[in-house]
């Protein structure tokens, strides 16, 4: 028996291919939306992986440093580093801000790290060009996605930094590329006040009789010095010694240092379950809507194609074609359209995914799930057309 669906497709291949192309673009958008979600999840995991930390010590009652603002003193790391089970501890600051690249702005996460500590937690994991930060000021290592090259100048707040190293896949949970600068500079950048504010603050302090007492020399200077100092960081990242139990060490730090401590699992839960949860739901909604739109389009196309063959179906029925053959013809066309659409969608998504400003991760398992979903959608969408075809009366082929 010849394939009626195949012959029909070959006969009107131009219409079929164009229809498949349109459907394919829609499927491509759907796959890309899935890829955007996967990219967000991957960015979050990469952020944790590349931090090189097993524990995050942050301000009490906060979800810092990625989900909430956290501020702790920068001398805490010393005592944490000396605790049982801790191999290394390091201060870090995180500040997502606009930085200057020539005449334009780039959104980036500025990370403050101790210079010269090459393998400490929080440091860029590996470089693709240049070297690590070795000086205490005005050097930077930038992620390649930021667009900076070796030797470029980065403007952050009032200072400029020279790019000495380029790293890769060091991004924030939002996908912004990271720029590493020396910790002191980062603290200054994060807590820097403008000159007018400092002037006003000095005047207010001088005018305060309890801070500017005539009989106590040096008090005012001390107070002013404490107001202009930057002695806080956002978190202390801890790397555990081999064999150390994360939960036990975290509990130890919580108890003795009276700070919040998160393990890797807890931090991942914060990033995935809280920070990008709304975005995930948003994308989920988009996926559902796109799936419904795709199904409606496939249903409409198959219905229209079948409508155009009412007379042929009546003739086929009259000359003895089984319903099974007619249903098979419609189903095969729907599935053929789905296969073509999926192929075009997959190719399109693969081509345009790297062009997206944020990371789009197209996973194989998503493609398999997408293909199965498209096939199910095509079968479901052809139900209307099949029902119509089964209702066609063979008598329609005869007379008036």
């Amino acid at each position: 028996m010849i394939s009626l669906a195949g012959r029909d497709i070959l006969h009107g291949w131009g219409k079929f291919v164009l229809t498949g192309f349109g459907l394919g673009l829609l499927i491509g958008v759907t796959l890309t939306m899935g890829g955007v979600y996967r990219g967000m999840v991957d960015d979050a995991r990469v952020l944790l992986d590349n931090s090189g930390a097993d524990l995050w010590v942050v301000q009490q009652d906060t979800l810092g440093p990625y989900a909430e603002s956290s501020s702790i003193y920068d001398d805490l790391w010393r005592s944490v580093a000396g605790m049982k089970g801790v191999e290394a501890a390091a201060n870090v600051t995180y500040l997502t801000t606009q930085i200057r690249r020539g005449e334009e702005d780039v959104r980036a996460m500025v990370v403050g790290v101790e210079p010269g500590v090459l393998s400490g937690p929080g440091q860029p994991r590996y470089l693709v060009a240049g070297r690590h930060i070795t000086r205490s000021h005005y050097e930077a290592v930038a992620d390649e996605a930021s667009g900076f090259r070796l030797g470029d100048s980065i403007g952050i707040r009032r200072n400029s930094y020279r790019v000495v190293g380029i790293t890769r896949r060091m991004v924030s949970s939002g996908g912004d590329p990271m720029v590493f600068i020396p910790l002191k500079d980062a603290q200054e950048a994060q807590f820097l006040k403008d000159n007018d504010f400092i002037l006003q603050q000095r005047r207010r302090t001088e005018a305060n009789p309890s801070l500017n007492r005539p009989g106590i020399p040096g008090l005012l200077e001390s107070v002013l010095a404490s107001q202009t100092g930057n002695s806080t960081v956002n978190a202390v990242l801890v790397r555990l010694a081999p064999g150390a139990d994360p939960e036990e060490t975290a509990e130890h730090i919580r108890r003795w240092k009276r700070h919040e401590v998160y393990t890797r699992e807890q931090m991942e839960e914060i990033l995935l379950g809280k920070l990008i949860a709304t975005s995930s739901r948003q994308i989920g909604m988009f996926l559902v809507i796109l799936a419904i739109v795709s199904a409606a389009i496939v249903a409409f196309i198959i219905y229209t194609l079948t409508m155009g063959k009412i007379r042929e179906i009546a003739v086929l029925k009259l000359i003895g074609t089984k319903n099974r053959t007619i249903v098979g013809m419609i189903l095969q066309q729907a599935l053929g359209l789905g296969v073509l659409g999926f192929m075009i969608g997959k190719i399109s998504a693969t081509i345009w995914a790297p062009i997206f400003p944020k990371y789009v991760l197209l996973e194989g398992r998503d493609s398999v799930a997408g293909f199965i979903a498209v096939m199910i959608m095509c079968v479901a969408s052809s139900v209307l057309a099949i029902r119509m075809a089964l209702k066609v009366d063979p008598a329609e082929a005869i007379g008036g």
């Binding site: 028996m1 010849i2 009626l4 012959r7 029909d8 070959l10 006969h11 009107g12 007379r311 042929e312 003739v315 086929l316 029925k317 009259l318 000359i319 003895g320 074609t321 089984k322 053959t325 009366d393 063979p394 008598a395 082929a397 005869i398 007379g399 008036g400």
Partner: protein
């Protein structure tokens, strides 16, 4: 070859609806068409021609009467054959006013489709199709799609399709309506020739005054009743 007795219809009735709104479309239809014979079925609009054709084609169920194809009673107060689809496929050929060829199949496959539906292997079905196309003088257009065929060629392909499973009965519904006199005569000539060659009983429903004189026997249907008339049986050969 069917080798049967053509088609016999006795006291066939068809009623649409029930009660006061019931309409008797066929009141008393009696017909006998022998193998190799071509008869005309004529009548004014609304006389019941189409209803009769649908009953004969096993598309709608009569209300009463008896229909026999060859030696097989196919209807007597109810369908005697369960698989009407197979009955239509194997026992009845259809030729329509418009050829209604399947637009995505070429001439050969349009004809071969029927034997394929009947379970014949593709090669055998295509051989049969080519044989019929050759008999109908359209073998040279065997690979052409319907849209590439002239009206006359399409009609010949549709006749070949009707003959594909060697049915004992062929129902032709206004097969010459869209054709000019010359082509109409050619179609009737072909039907006569095929009826003899394949021993098929052919019933031609027509309004076409040009071809009515060519039938040896005519059934005139009026108000749901048939009357048999002798036709002129004029030659269909060009003069």
């Amino acid at each position: 070859m069917s080798g049967g007795k053509g088609i016999t219809v006795e006291g066939l009735k068809k009623r649409y609806g029930s009660g006061e709104t019931a309409v008797d479309a066929l009141k008393e239809v009696n017909m006998v068409v022998a193998p190799g014979e071509v008869v005309g079925l004529i009548g004014p609009s609304g006389s019941g021609k189409t209803t009769l054709l649908k009953c004969l084609g096993a598309v709608i169920e009569p209300t009463a009467g008896k229909m026999t194809i060859g030696d097989n009673v196919i209807y007597e107060e109810k369908w005697k054959i369960k698989d009407l689809r197979a009955l239509r496929r194997d026992k009845i050929g259809f030729v329509f006013q418009a050829p209604y060829l399947i637009p995505f199949l070429d001439a050969t496959d349009n004809v071969a489709l029927l034997p394929m539906l009947a379970g014949k292997p593709n090669g055998e079905a295509r051989d049969r199709a080519r044989e019929l196309l050759d008999a109908l003088d359209v073998a040279h257009r065997a690979r052409a799609m319907p849209s590439e065929l002239s009206g006359g060629e399409q009609q010949r392909v549709s006749i070949a399709r009707a003959l594909a499973n060697q049915p004992p009965v062929i129902l032709a519904d206004e097969p010459t309506a869209p054709l000019d006199s010359e082509r109409a005569m050619a179609v009737i000539r072909i039907l006569n020739s095929m009826a003899k060659q394949y021993e098929a009983a052919i019933i031609v429903v027509t309004h076409d005054e040009k071809i009515i004189p060519t039938f040896r026997r005519i059934y005139r249907i009026r108000d749901g009743k048939t009357e048999e008339e002798a036709g002129e049986g004029r030659s269909t050969e060009p003069t």
